[in-house]
């Protein structure tokens, strides 16, 4: 049976034939709506096309910024053992060309680099350093190191110095290849000292530096001369700043490191002065931030991982290179932040695209509503539904594609590129919605069967329609729930940071769509309640004595079943609220992050030379006008703490606990009542508050603070430490208790609070780096990713509000003919023209009121549900995910804008129709009824 029917249908089928005059005629008649649709497509394409390239540019900047901030941590190090220097007759032999060997090592290291990695690195510096020696002059704990630099210009090409006393180090013996017996006396070696180091050691040229190694073996190190750096800021000094001046805390709490500079002539002597494991050579590559981009950062990260994987073992005795660097971790961190920013941007872009698609559906609905008579006429002339569909598709494609291209071209002109992927849904919606609605309307208007006369079939048909709508709504709700669950379970970040595959496959799109889907689902549920609300209002108004209320409520009840116009308003308003809340939360998070980073209104990071005077500095600052508190503290990163079976390297904070607690109480930083526990001793151990990201430091543990050249200090973890700066692992002890336990604090930080903090810090901070909270906040806001996200959030909020208002206008335009026909009929009953406006406003108000009231509420609800997993803390620098911060004033503007729009739309509509007499309206209105238009069936 199927075969015959199919054969007949196939014989009847013919390819669709567009009727060009009809297409041109309809386009001319509906120029306005078509231009509007084109404008929406162009605007959303511009926004959606411009945002990803801007984000990518911000990601490039973020990579450079992160590498720049990482400083020496991002350097790539190649270590290599020395060639054996054992002589043929026992003992060691002086190697006079050791500096040239070092150049060979540098060249070998360069050759082993992947081209992508090499392109991102500056020319290397070869560095030779000795073990840390202990200065044995009997005073405070001081350490000493020998160091040698050479850049790619060859031996002796380190930073320039001027010898102000004595001269550069010379060979200790006249015989360049002199033998050195294994058990001979300490081999002499000459070094140069900086002015500051020489003064600290009270030594002059020719003096011997009293040093010994960890095995208490005395070294014969002599001062050849005293130098002054030609340029203190030469990047090479960054590698060993103790060559220029003593550095406090470099070798643990309470210690000060100094150093002596070797020359190519004294380098071979230094080699003989130390055992192999005590004298190391390293080739150090500093990254070139300007050469890094988001893409090249990926390649560099991969190359570094490969390099580390192929690196020789640290225990190997051969001369193969061993590679070390933290640049891969730095890049991984920035990739995580870029991923977070990308996902957060995706959340906003999905919102804009969804609102844009809804607007285009509404515009298509309006267009079809205007065109039904023309479509019916076309059908009556013999056009098939495929003919009609193809004609409408050609027209909508001719509108959508050039508009999208125009938007993307503008995006390309104003940004580094244009991403067409995000514009695709908009183009598809613009191209397909009109034809689909048009074909449906034409089919309904010309189909053979009509609405059944009997009640039962009519009820059945109505139920079928309701079932279809409920199914579609259930699909949206299920998708929203799935997206929310995925967001909470998996978070917003891809499983692998910076994974390009995840990016291309839209790995986090489901999670990123959670807010939009949630808003959509919530809006659909709320719109289910709208008809009940309008009917309730109608019932109440029927009991009132105000006729205008009755007519307005009646019109509102008649149009309440239309979903699309209020859906657009509600979704756009809710998403605008969400974007504003995201912006506000991020801004407040940056404020909190700045408090956390600085720890007060201002912070003084005291230079090593000024550390002994830090306490006096704090007293001077505290006495300055407008300063409430000035709290000195010692902050030392990477101290060695033995905890349980592992060693950790947290930040050690030594501070007066009572003063610090008062400081925390005077700032928005979280209070730490457990600071009170630090003054009491715990079984003789030094009480400490601890904090760690992985639980390796927990209250109740017994810890050991390891020190070089001094016995460890026993700590008792008595509570949880507050977050201090950006450190994730913290050990905090009271200064007085630490002193009592033999740990002398070397205060290198002063936290200052009060309105005069910035001024006092600036006036007294000559020997310190002044860090002001407003500056940190400004820098955080200007950071590439943060600034980009904040800008996108604001633009999104404005765009969404504009789309919501456009939805209101389109919805009003779509229902205007029917509304004014009803009003014209009411005027035949005696309704005055000015009263007609109130009735029109009464019709529009319920949906607008719902959007105005429920939109912000829905947006806030979704913000509460989804902002946590969006990982905003990665951009704001907060310790935990921030709670939503609703911008109440801005949110208040959303309902005001919608209600004001009604106050504008109704008079404008009334003015546009003022020229038409009721007679004309009634004539024109006698067209096709709603049942034919299928209005209730359209979404």
């Amino acid at each position: 049976m199927r075969g015959l029917g199919w054969w007949r249908a196939r014989r009847r089928w013919r390819p669709p034939v567009p009727h060009w005059p009809s297409i041109r005629g309809r386009a001319r008649a509906d120029t306005g709506p078509l231009v509007l649709a084109a404008a929406v497509v162009a605007a959303v394409s511009l926004l959606a096309g411009a945002a990803p390239p801007l984000l990518r540019a911000a990601a490039d900047d973020a990579v450079r910024d992160a590498v720049r901030r990482a400083g020496g941590d991002a350097d790539v190090l190649a270590r290599g053992n020395w060639e054996p220097d054992d002589g043929p007759t026992g003992g060691r032999v002086r190697a006079p060309r050791l500096a040239e060997d070092l150049d060979d090592l540098r060249a070998r290291a360069v050759n082993e680099l992947d081209p992508a990695l090499r392109a991102a690195l500056r020319p290397p510096v070869a560095l030779v350093t000795s073990d840390i020696l202990k200065v044995t002059d009997g005073s405070v704990l001081r350490t000493f190191q020998l160091a040698y630099f050479a850049d790619d210009r060859g031996p002796g090409s380190g930073p320039h110095v001027t010898w102000i006393a004595g001269g550069p180090p010379r060979a200790a013996v006249p015989d360049a290849a002199a033998p050195a017996p294994y058990d001979g006396p300490p081999w002499p070696v000459q070094v140069g000292l900086s002015e500051a180091d020489a003064e600290a050691l009270r030594l002059r040229p020719g003096d011997r530096i009293p040093v010994q190694d960890a095995r208490r073996t005395v070294k014969d190190v002599r001062v050849s001369g005293i130098f002054r750096a030609t340029d203190d800021a030469d990047p090479a000094w960054r590698l060993a700043p103790w060559l220029l001046h003593p550095v406090v805390g470099a070798d643990g709490v309470g210690s000060t490191r100094l150093a002596g500079l070797l020359s190519p002539d004294s380098l071979p002597d230094a080699r003989l002065a130390f055992d192999d494991g005590q004298f190391r050579r390293t080739v150090r590559f500093a990254p070139e931030p300007g050469a890094l981009t988001w893409e090249s950062g990926r390649a560099v990260g991969a190359a570094v991982v490969a390099l580390k994987a192929a690196s020789g073992s640290s225990g190997a005795l051969d001369t193969s290179l061993r590679w070390e660097t933290r640049i891969d971790a730095v890049l991984r961190d920035v990739r995580v932040r870029v991923d977070a920013a990308s996902a957060q941007a995706s959340v906003l872009l999905i919102a804009i695209v969804a609102a844009g698609v809804l607007i285009l559906l509404l515009a298509a609905d309006l267009l079809v509503h205007r065109r039904v008579p023309a479509l019916v006429a076309a059908r009556q002339r013999g056009a098939t539904l495929p003919d009609v569909g193809v004609e409408l598709l050609l027209e909508s494609a001719a509108v959508a594609l050039p508009a999208a291209v125009a938007g993307l071209v503008v995006a390309r002109a104003v940004t580094p590129g244009a991403a067409w992927g995000w514009a695709l849904p908009i183009v598809v919606a613009a191209a397909v919605a009109g034809p689909a609605f048009g074909v449906l309307a034409a089919a309904r208007a010309t189909r053979d069967w009509r609405v059944p006369a009997n009640r039962t079939p009519r009820r059945r048909a109505r139920h079928t329609g309701q079932l279809r709508r409920a199914t579609a709504e259930a699909g949206v709700v299920i998708a929203a729930v799935a997206a929310l669950v995925a967001l909470h379970q998996r978070g917003i970040l891809p499983a692998v940071a910076g994974d390009p595959a995840a990016d291309q496959a839209g790995g986090v799109r489901l999670q990123a769509s959670a807010p939009t889907l949630g808003v959509l689902a919530g809006a659909l549920v709320l719109l289910r309640l709208l008809p009940f609300g309008t009917r309730l209002t109608l019932r109440r108004s029927l009991r009132s004595r105000r006729p205008l209320a009755v007519f307005g409520a009646a019109r509102a009840a008649a149009t309440a079943a239309r979903v699309l116009p209020p859906l657009v308003m509600l979704v756009a308003t809710a998403l605008a609220c969400f974007a504003l809340t995201l912006d506000s939360t991020a801004r407040q998070g940056l404020v909190d992050g700045a408090w956390r980073a600085v720890g007060a209104d201002a912070r003084l990071d005291v230079a090593p030379a000024g550390v002994p005077a830090t306490a006096a500095l704090a007293r001077r600052v505290a006495a300055a006008p407008g300063v409430r508190q000035a709290v000195p503290a010692q902050l030392t990163d990477g101290v060695r703490i033995a905890a349980a079976a592992t060693d950790v390297a947290p930040r050690l904070v030594i501070v007066d606990a009572a003063e610090y607690r008062r400081l925390l109480a005077a700032t928005p930083l979280p209070d730490a009542p457990q600071l009170d526990r630090l003054t009491a001793t715990a079984d003789g151990d030094l009480p400490a508050l601890v904090r760690s990201h992985d639980g390796s430091l927990r209250p109740g543990m017994r810890l050991e603070l390891l020190r070089t050249g001094a016995p460890p200090v026993h700590l008792a973890a008595v509570g949880t430490a507050p977050a201090v700066g950006g450190a994730v692992d913290v050990v905090l002890v009271d200064a007085a208790a630490a002193t009592a336990a033999g740990v002398l604090p070397a205060f290198n930080t002063v936290w200052v609070t009060g309105p005069g903090a910035a001024r006092a810090a600036a006036e007294n901070g000559a020997a310190a780096r002044v860090v002001l909270r407003p500056d940190v906040l400004r820098a955080s806001r200007a950071a590439p990713l943060t600034a980009g996200l904040l800008r996108l959030a604001l633009v999104s909020a404005v765009a969404l509000l504009a789309l919501g208002l456009l939805g209101l206008a389109l919805g009003a335009a779509a229902t205007a003919p029917e509304r004014w026909q009803t009003l014209a009929r009411l005027r035949t009953l005696g309704l005055r023209p000015r009263d007609a406006r109130w009735v029109a406003a009464g019709e529009l108000l319920p949906a607008v009121a719902l959007a105005a009231a429920a939109g912000p509420a829905l947006g806030l609800l979704l913000a509460h549900l989804t902002l946590g997993p969006l990982a905003l803390r990665l951009l704001t620098g907060q310790a935990t995910d921030p709670a939503p911060v609703p911008p109440w004033w801005h949110l208040g503007l959303l309902p005001v804008a919608l209600l004001a729009a009604v106050a504008v739309v109704v008079p404008v509509e009334s003015r546009l129709r003022r020229g038409r007499r009721p007679g004309e309206v009634l004539r024109a209105g006698e067209g096709l009824p709603d049942a034919v238009l299928g209005r209730r069936s359209l979404p």
């Binding site: 009917r535 006729p547 009755v550 007519f551 009953l829 309704l831 005055r832 009634l922």
Partner: protein, 236 residues
């Protein structure tokens, strides 16, 4: 049955558009309608029937001429004056009924009374009376969508009569109804003219309907055929 002229139309011209493409919908139309009569206005589609009804009811303004209803020059009234006239003096019945879909039949009928702020009790009494008059007392709580076309038009007639108008203007009131239903609606109109003493001006092109009118005015190409006010039909 009839007294002096309730409606006096004199020299009415109505033109749509300008220049050579202008359409003269009405040309020098003049006639009188006596109070308490039912007049049928007949003519082919496009002959100017609806335009004439709109002009008579104040829904449209003539380019020339005057329309006087019960001594009031409709063409001289401003919008508020026309609104007052429609609240009490003139009522309309349309081919498409023009009911408010979400209101029940009784609430639709009571709509004009709300505009004139008739007290609720009196309004309910009047509505019940009118629904009884049009034979829909049992359908008072039903909405238009639940009524047949003929019933909806009866509700529209009841609504038109709610404010006790002096002139009832009906534009093709049976246009969307089958013949039998249309006949019953026309009979209803005839009945209310006699029982309520209202004057009715009804446009139609159904010859059988004309038989129910006291008088028939034929209009063709915007002109009244025959001398104005000439009695060309027969009263029932």
């Amino acid at each position: 049955m009839s007294g002096g002229p309730l409606l006096r139309v004199r020299g009415v011209h109505r033109r749509f558009g300008t220049g050579p493409t202008a359409v003269h919908a009405l040309r020098d139309v003049s006639f009188d309608v006596a109070a308490g009569t039912m007049v049928a206005l007949v003519g082919r589609s496009g002959s100017g029937k609806t335009t004439l009804l709109n002009v008579v009811g104040g829904l449209d303004r003539p380019d020339e001429g005057t329309v006087v209803i019960d001594g009031t020059d409709v063409t001289a009234l401003d919008e508020d004056g026309l609104s007052r006239l429609r609240r009490a003096g003139v009522a309309y019945v349309f081919q498409t009924f023009g009911l408010i879909p979400v209101l029940s039949a009784a609430e639709n009928v009571g709509a004009p009374l709300r505009l004139t702020r008739v007290p609720a009790r009196e309004r309910e009494r009047r509505v019940a009376l009118l629904l009884e008059l049009v034979g829909l007392a049992e359908h008072a709580r039903q909405r238009p969508g639940e009524l047949s076309g003929g019933q909806q038009q009866r509700v529209a007639i009841a609504r038109a009569l709610a404010a006790s108008p002096r002139l009832l203007i009906a534009d093709e009131p049976t246009g969307q109804l089958d013949h039998e239903t249309g006949m019953s609606v026309m009979a209803l109109l005839r009945g209310v003219v006699e029982s309520e003493g209202v004057t009715a001006l009804v446009s139609t092109h159904d010859a059988v309907m004309m038989a129910l009118a006291d008088r028939v005015i034929r209009i063709s190409d915007g002109r009244i055929e025959g001398p104005a006010g000439e009695r060309v039909g027969a009263a029932c």
